[in-house]
Amino acid sequence: MIETSGERILSGVAASDGLVVGRAVRLASAAELQRTAGSPEEERSVLAGAITRATEQLEALAGAQDETGAEILEFQTALLEDEDLLAPVYAAVEAGQPADLAWIRIIDGEVTEYREGEDDYFKARADDLLDLKERVLAALHGKETAQVKLDGDIIIARDLTPSRFLELDWSLYRGVAICGGSPTSHVAILARARGIPLVVGLEDAPETLVAACPAVLDAESGRLILAPTTETLEEIGRRLRARDADDAAAQSLLGEAAVTAQGERIEILINADDPRVLAEVPVANCDGIGLTRTEFLFSDGALPDEQKQYEVYRDLMTWAAGRPVIIRTLDAGGDKPIPGVTVDDESNPFLGLRGVRLSLLKPEVMKLQLRALARAASLGPLKIMIPMVTVPEEVEAVRALLEAALSELAAQGVAHARPQLGMMVEVPAAALAAERFKVDFFSIGSNDLIQYTTACARDNAAVTGLADAKNPAVLELIRRTVEAAARMGVEVSLCGDMASDPNAIPDLLDCGLRRLSVAPAQVGRVKLAVRRYD
């Protein structure tokens, strides 16, 4: 039992936002060896029984899940029916190994193979095998992961597999802290989707926590505080009340214009990743659309024809009701492969053919999109944005395609208008020399700008900490772009994740930005952060 006077603070990384005061309890792992080998027949029978029970548990669990959860579990169930996978385990048991050792050795070998290679999706399947390893071991050792209410509501575990996460009754528990994991792991994705506070990467918490004890899970700053003192609890209580007040204040600001404490008006636009979400967003809450990603139009294999594209762009213009709408031309490549468009087998896709580089290799695809955009521009202030621009020649090549599209439409007597043509600033070479580009507007893509400035791949969890949005070099590139736009007399906005983070708003306003494009769900919180800026 931990002494109640001895507060201990363990540091980790916040992976799903929240702040919880409760009682920490350890969730035991089944992954330790326990068996001494019986006869081969005995071990074979014990193993077969454990696999059957594990299969039954997974099937029962899958029935109660949404699609993401069900898919993870379905793959695990299929693995338990995989004769090629199980054959070497049974062979090891025949040769005299205890069932648990045989199972651990074979699955660990498979895990190593999954972790090799470049593709994060396939690497992450190693988690599924580890999940399965633990489940079968629990069955082997007679420690079924049945629903037993733990003596607390903040779960501490060495690691938490996706299936165990899904299995836990989240009406009974309010947060999790684990030693392993990363903010990009499956469990982190599941926790965020369900709004369950999660801290990952904690050092030695299960050893520290022998018995349940009072605790604070601070998934704002990534800490677990065991046996908090009265003073700590008072401070956390103040923060909890502030969070509640912020939520209420953000909600009340939704429909208001964003104004700083000094009375300066800030335009808040929204990112329309998928136009279907717009149905739930009142247009009066924002000043227009600052980024429309058009990749979704190209995601089902076939390239969309002009009419299909036009109808989608037309719907955006109708929704915006006269407010500006920025639509980005197809931004494929990098971590967004599109069959028939992107190039396979690049050794480093983020530094390869992506965005406008790829579009200029497929001018027919781009011209079709420009035609559809010019037609929709007849309905209101539509602005075309070019992604991944590095040199002015790329803008001029797109402009030539746009001119050709406009001439065609005029010759065919199709209703259209000339849209503004702007570019994303996400390559440092563009941010450092923005005045070289003859465009109508800039929009800073902070996600890629951070990636390229800090040399941290967006899909590599190991360098998450280095890819800091507030790195002075990143802020300097943003400031220079804003200043260049002012000298040129063109508009500038920022449309990356940074604009949706209330903590980053003061930095962006300090850089001179007065136009931000944010995730629809963050509009209220961003407006609150703007209001507090002076």
Binding site: L79, D119, D344
Partner: protein, 110 residues
């Protein structure tokens, strides 16, 4: 699993008059590649046929058992890659046709 090409089948295979060999290919369309759900669909479909069924990526790739979800997943087949299918046994033709059709339908993705 035999690595012999069909036309030079070994003595065991040629001894059985019912053994037929079939091949086919199709391209993976899903942007995530051959991920968990299509991999499971593919192995389940392969298992319904009385034949050894194997797949590989690329002309030089290693053939793996199409009835093993673990082996199929470890191909790490990405979007736009071609999957080659071959089968041997009583229902070899049907097996290859069914698998190629499943890949071409993009695994009946929603």
């Amino acid at each position: 699993m035999s690595e012999l090409p069909a036309e030079t089948a070994g003595p065991d295979e040629s001894a059985d008059a019912n053994e037929t060999v079939a091949t086919g290919e199709a391209t993976i369309q899903d942007p995530t590649g051959l991920h968990a759900r299509p991999a499971v669909k593919l192995t389940k479909l392969a298992k319904t046929h009385d034949a050894t069924v194997e797949i590989r990526t690329g002309e030089e790739g290693k053939w793996v058992n199409a009835k093993s979800p673990n082996a199929v997943m470890k191909l790490k087949a990405g979007s736009g890659e071609t999957l080659f299918v071959r089968a041997q046994g009583a229902q070899a033709d049907d097996a290859v046709k069914a698998l190629v059709a499943l890949i071409e339908r993009d695994f009946d993705a929603e």
